[in-house]
Amino acid sequence: MLIASIVVLAVGTYTMRLSGVLLRDRLELSDRLQRLLPMAATTLLAALAATAALMEGAAFAGAARPAGVAVGALLAWRKAPFVVVVLAAALTAALLRLAGVP
């Protein structure tokens, strides 16, 4: 059962990854629709970032993580390098937790 569930999860995940790549050729998409594809991908990524920043399971994640993400986002907006953004976000969240912020 353990092996079967891992195999099904792996095959299913790979199928979804591959089918998007293969479908792209089969689909006759208008120019307008084609422009929606990167927009849709960006929207999914924005939703991932927002839910990961704010939520832990079904509940609010606490203050430290959103604060760290906010610092990172601010730096990214100020065109700081990627490394700085990631490190600053982690450091802020870690220090806040060290100070007892949930």
Partner: protein, 235 residues
């Protein structure tokens, strides 16, 4: 694009190193958690290699350890359904050859897609996809091995603030795309929608719900009668 044009590849390598370091740490916590749950040693290794999707792996080992492998498969697949629209968006970048498509598809993750969409030039996009894809696959699996070997000694990713690092990194990567007004409207609407429905929907569905944000394009705007300009969207 915010990276200096003179040394684009050095900047990309530096970014790749940063995300790889974070991936090693999170991969290590995955390996350690899987072992702590009492799962056989091969489970985290096999999952990191053949599933290669961090969120789904964490979710799945938790549910498997709780004795609910069916729920693990269902939740994991729901969480990974976003790869289908991702595939549509990056298909041209992955390549036309079958070998590239078969291997490239397996390397597809949120971070790879985010790094790729940041680039405009097709050749550079392609390089980015493969470089980040291979880097993440390697670092995720190395991290998993480290976690299995070191067990609980790898530390809590939350104590290191890594849970804040990944959303911040994603935001940094999608910011250039958000300069386009239509994309920004859709993405922010979708993200808000996803957060709102997270408490009531099972994991995976909220992020898919964000696609409903595309309907924001059809909301009439009084002040802007001209057709929406999409030229900023990297295609």
């Amino acid at each position: 694009m915010r990276t200096p044009r003179r040394t684009p590849d050095r900047a990309l390598l530096r970014d790749a190193a940063a995300i790889a370091a974070a991936m090693v740490a999170v991969g290590a916590s995955f390996g350690a958690i899987a072992i702590a749950y009492g799962l056989p040693t091969w489970v985290p290794f096999v999952m990191s290699t053949v599933v290669f999707a961090g969120g789904a792996q964490f979710l799945a080992v938790g549910l498997i350890a709780a004795g609910n492998p069916l729920a693990a498969v269902f939740a994991g697949l729901l969480l990974n359904a976003r790869h289908l629209p991702f595939g549509l968006a990056v298909a041209a970048t992955v390549g036309d050859r079958w070998r590239d498509r078969l291997i490239g598809s397996h390397l597809m993750t949120d971070e790879v897609v985010a790094f790729t969409l940041r680039e405009r030039d097709p050749a550079r996009r392609r390089r980015t996809y493969w470089l980040i894809g291979v880097t993440l696959f390697t670092s995720w699996n190395a991290g998993t091995a480290l976690g299995v070997l070191l067990g609980g000694a790898t530390g809590d990713p939350a104590a290191l603030g890594l849970d804040a690092a990944f959303p911040a990194g994603l935001i940094a990567l999608i910011l250039p795309s958000l300069r386009d007004r239509a994309t920004r409207t859709v993405a922010l609407t979708g993200a808000a929608l996803a957060v709102l429905v997270t408490p009531v929907l099972p994991a995976g569905l909220p992020v898919l719900c964000a696609l409903l944000g595309l309907f924001a394009l059809f909301v009439p705007r009084r002040r802007r009668e001209e057709p929406r300009k999409l030229e900023e969207v990297p295609c």
